[in-house]
Amino acid sequence: MAQEYDPLRPAPVPVSTTPTAQELKGAIDNGRTGDKVAFDDPGAAPLGTDDEVAGTPDTAERVALAMRQELKSGLSSNSGAVATAEDSRRAPSAARLRPKSPNIQIYRPQLTSVLSILNRITGNILSACAVVLVIWLIAAATGPQAYGLVQGAIASWVGQIVLFGATFAFFLHLCGGIRHLVWDTVQGFELRSIYISGWVVVAASIALTVAAWVLSFLMKG
């Protein structure tokens, strides 16, 4: 059956063993890479072009590598083949694993990213603390025995270590939360400001945790 002529459809591009960036773009635009639509892909437009403009064009080996990665099945089976309408209409393969961003396994931790995830981690810790708060209130409402039991658990060395950690988590989430509220007013987004506020959050959280425990010890007498 004759393929219906579509002027918007890119012409089929043959695959060679030493593909050029243009050939790779053609393969992507023809839907041969599976997860792309059979149409001009704006994302592929700068492919090769940027490097050529910069005076460092991709070597044939690098383009061939990119082509192999994109076609996945490898050039050997497709060598010399011409993309057909059947290839173009191939359903995107859901099983294909694409790299995810950000690649946290290889990213260098930064103050910004560490504080970001710590805000989430401390939030989860404080959720558990909220449950303890309710247990503590119920114990207080139940009577002196129940209250004494909970207070005893908190006063144990394990309880004190957990409470110390919870205190730091609380102040870190509090200070980090205030930093977020400031950001919500569209203030302090300059890189320098972000680092200054980040270190202020760290310093204030440590200072407030120490202050809280010193005051508590002073109250105990």
Binding site: N124, L126, L137, L174, G177, L181, A212, S216, M219, K220
Partner: protein, 123 residues
């Protein structure tokens, strides 16, 4: 009758969630003074016995602020945990997890308020 452009304007990729986003901020603002009051009160009561603690809890100010703390805290907790679930759970378990968090937070807040009122009015 609305054009596709009119429908699209103002909609981010998530399409909805401004209400939750705003509620998380409002509860956060409420929690700043409430949690600081709670922390200061607990520090002040270090070493206090049960009777002293109950006398303090029965003051109208402590009862009121404790109830406000519980409402703001569990509202904030539910919203925060829901965001975490929506970010990491993509299977059918997401719906069940969000439901469990919502119901759990509502139950815990109610239990906390009931305990506070019990202390205030019954002892």
């Amino acid at each position: 009758m609305r054009s596709p452009l009119a429908r699209a304007i103002g909609l981010g990729s998530a399409k909805e969630g401004v209400r939750e986003w705003w509620a998380e901020r409002v509860s956060a603002v409420a929690l700043v003074p409430l949690t600081l009051w709670f922390a200061a009160s607990i520090i002040a009561h270090t070493g206090s016995d049960y009777a002293t603690f109950i006398v303090w809890m029965r003051t109208p100010l402590a009862t009121t602020l404790m109830i406000l703390l519980l409402i703001a805290l569990f509202h904030h907790t539910a919203l925060g945990l829901q965001v975490v679930i929506e970010d990491y759970v993509h299977s059918g378990a997401k719906f069940a997890a969000v439901m469990a968090v919502r119901l759990g937070c509502f139950a815990l807040a109610t239990a906390g308020v009931a305990a506070t009122l019990h202390i205030a009015f019954i002892g």
